[in-house]
């Protein structure tokens, strides 16, 4: 009986209980301001050790000085006053993790923010942890489908890769991340979205979009809002990857979005300046590279001997006036395995997603593409590059040869087919069909302005009557599938006449 076993359990725990005194090292608050406290005493405090203030508020020791310890306060510091007792805990910060965190919105200490009650934990994981070693990893060769045509065709991302999304404000960076999360439905992927220093109204809209798209059944949101202070913003990405590591340890594939690491660097700069650490370039502390490298190195694809699973990281960086040679952007570009560069000019021209394909790269490349996409999109990047070269030239030239005209027409059609609406990820087999079509001239007789409508109708046609072909495209690519696809194009063309 349940009651019997509960009584047995309680008796066992009472029997195991040992009443012993607690002797802990204490110090006193000498100074407190702006989320930082200086503690006198605590002579044996260690780096990154957790300390507990009188009211139960926690802090992390970040500065070990001769006479005092500099501590960042995690939580509300308004009740902390000079002279308050501070206790060492002899522990490093850890947070509860578990399967019940899926579908929840939590803060960086794993406390729930969505008014759905407490979250039952399965384990406690350290927030700061060493990244998997070289021998634990295996090459990235499994695709992560974003559902965004330009990315899956020309800048493919693999499971275990770090792909940076970089661009100015309001260029669609978060949209790419959310579309990718929405496209993971049915893909055996768990997603973690880390909002760092974001407006809570924006995060509320994003959560609504994820709920409407059915994505909250496999997504956790970690939120450190703009009003939560720099300490929580500093911890948020590490908390996000910690939650992801729990699932990776079970052999699952996880994707983590860090939105955005520019605000993370700014929060760390604020903390470091308040702790009186010497500022270096742009007033950032000297270890700002290490701040991001140790975070992003925890994304990996693990070999089966080490437990399998993967963490794919999509960090986001906001640039100012398109300057990707600034300090933080260059740091993160050098850490990640590629970048997706978004341009304001393209966005304003109506090219959305506003991806500058020339400046974007995926260092994993076609190893992370399914066979059919590799075949279909083979020359596309080159064709687009040629189109961009000729596009500006064509503005001034009145007479063009047939070859140049062909390149320009093809380029316009490719550009048009790559446009996509927000929160509308496209299944990979449909992407292959569309890209195959545009690259092999099936859209050459369609007016540029009609391509959007054509695409919509063609996709409906394929989904309703070519379901088997779409499934085959996702599995492999051969002559038969290619011929079937060609027949599908002919059939669709004849139905439109």
């Amino acid at each position: 009986m349940n009651t019997e076993s509960l009584i047995k359990n309680l008796k066992k725990r009472l029997g195991e209980f040992e009443a012993s005194p607690e002797i802990s090292e204490i110090g006193y608050v000498a100074e407190v301001k702006d989320g930082i406290a200086k503690i006198a005493g605590l002579d044996n405090c260690r780096m990154s050790e957790m300390v507990e203030f009188a009211g139960g508020t926690l802090g992390i020791a970040l500065n070990l000085e001769e006479d005092s310890v500099g501590v960042i306060i995690i939580g509300d510091y308004k009740n902390i006053k000079e002279g308050d007792t501070v206790k060492r805990t002899s522990k490093i910060l850890s947070i509860p993790v578990g399967k019940n965190f899926i579908g929840r919105v939590v803060n960086p200490l794993s406390a729930p923010l969505d008014n759905k009650g407490e979250v039952e934990k399965d384990a406690e994981y350290l927030v700061e942890k060493l990244a998997p070693g070289v021998m634990e990893r295996q090459p990235v060769d499994q695709p992560l489908q974003t559902g965004i045509k330009s990315i899956d065709a020309m800048i493919p991302i693999g499971r275990g890769q770090r792909e940076l999304i970089i661009g100015d404000r309001q260029t669609g960076k978060t949209t790419i991340a959310i579309d990718t999360i929405l496209n993971q439905k049915g893909q055996n992927m768990i997603c973690v979205y880390v909002a760092i220093g974001q407006k809570k109204s924006k995060v509320a809209r994003l959560i609504k979009a994820l709920e409407d798209g059915g994505a909250m059944t496999y997504t956790t949101v970690v939120l450190a809002g703009a009003s939560d202070g720099p300490a929580l913003s500093y911890l948020a990405p590490y908390a996000g990857v910690t939650i992801a590591e729990y699932f990776m340890d079970q052999g699952k594939d996880v994707m983590v979005v860090y939105d955005d690491l520019s605000k993370h660097a700014i929060a760390y700069r604020e903390i470091s300046l308040l702790l009186r650490r010497p500022p270096s370039r742009e007033a950032y502390p000297g270890d700002v590279f290490y701040l991001h490298s140790r975070l992003l190195e925890r994304a990996a694809r693990r070999n089966p001997e080490s437990g399998g699973g993967s963490i794919t990281a999509l960090p986001i960086i906001e640039t100012q006036a398109g300057d990707i040679s600034a300090y933080i952007p260059t740091n993160v570009i050098s850490i990640t395995d590629g970048q997706i560069f978004l341009e304001t000019e393209l966005f304003n021209k109506g090219l959305r997603p506003a991806i500058n394909v020339g400046m974007s790269v995926s260092r994993v490349g076609s190893a992370a593409q399914i066979k059919s996409m590799k075949k279909a999109s083979g020359k596309m990047k080159l064709d687009l590059a040629q189109y961009r070269e000729l596009e500006s030239f064509a503005q001034f030239a009145s007479d063009m040869d047939a070859e140049t005209k062909k390149v320009l027409d093809r380029g316009k059609r490719i550009t048009e087919i790559l446009k996509q609406n927000q929160y509308s990820p496209v299944r990979v087999s449909l992407q292959v069909a569309l890209i195959y079509g545009v690259n092999n001239g099936y859209l050459d007789d369609i007016e540029i302005s009609e391509i959007g409508k054509w695409e919509e109708t063609f996709r409906e046609f394929l989904v309703s009557s070519k379901g088997t072909l779409l499934n085959d495209i996702e599995k492999t690519w051969d002559e038969k599938i290619e011929n079937d696809l060609k027949s599908a194009f002919e059939e669709f063309k004849s139905t439109r006449k």
Binding site: L6, N9, L10, R13, L14, E16, F17, A19, P21, E22, I23, S24, E25, I26, G27, A40, G41, L42, D43, E66, D67, T85, K87
Partner: protein, 128 residues
């Protein structure tokens, strides 16, 4: 850069740890300050030495919190338990600790209170 705090710590260490005579240490320090043109630091060094002395006194203070008033013998027993060599103790009565005592001495908190044991038991049972 020569800091007055570092000089103060060195002087105190020479007297307390190395066992040198305070008069000799002071005399050597004044000669040192004169030789290296550091007379302007003497006042701040004195201030630092006084702060160090205050901190040391603070460290050696005993603060005991009890749930109910206790006799002198019990207080002596508490002092022995926490490793104190004697001296005045500041006693505070706080019913919130339910029973037992807490004591702060030499940057250590000795928690022998009933409240902490009840909290530990509660956490243990929560894991059930």
């Amino acid at each position: 850069m020569i800091k007055s705090g570092n000089i103060a710590r060195a002087l105190v260490s020479m007297v307390e740890d190395d066992g040198k005579k305070p008069d000799k240490v002071a005399e050597d320090f004044f000669l040192f300050a004169e030789k290296y043109n550091l007379k302007s630091l003497i006042k701040s060094v004195l201030f630092r030495i006084e702060s160090l002395r205050e901190k040391d006194e603070e460290k050696n203070k005993i603060a005991i919190t009890l749930a109910i008033k206790s006799d002198e013998k019990s207080l002596e027993d508490i002092k022995k338990t926490i490793g104190s060599e004697g001296g005045e103790a500041e006693v505070v009565i706080d019913k919130e600790i339910l029973g037992g005592f807490t004591a702060k001495y030499k940057n250590r908190l000795h928690d022998y209170s009933l409240l902490s044991q009840v909290n530990k038991l509660r956490n243990k049972l929560k894991q059930a």
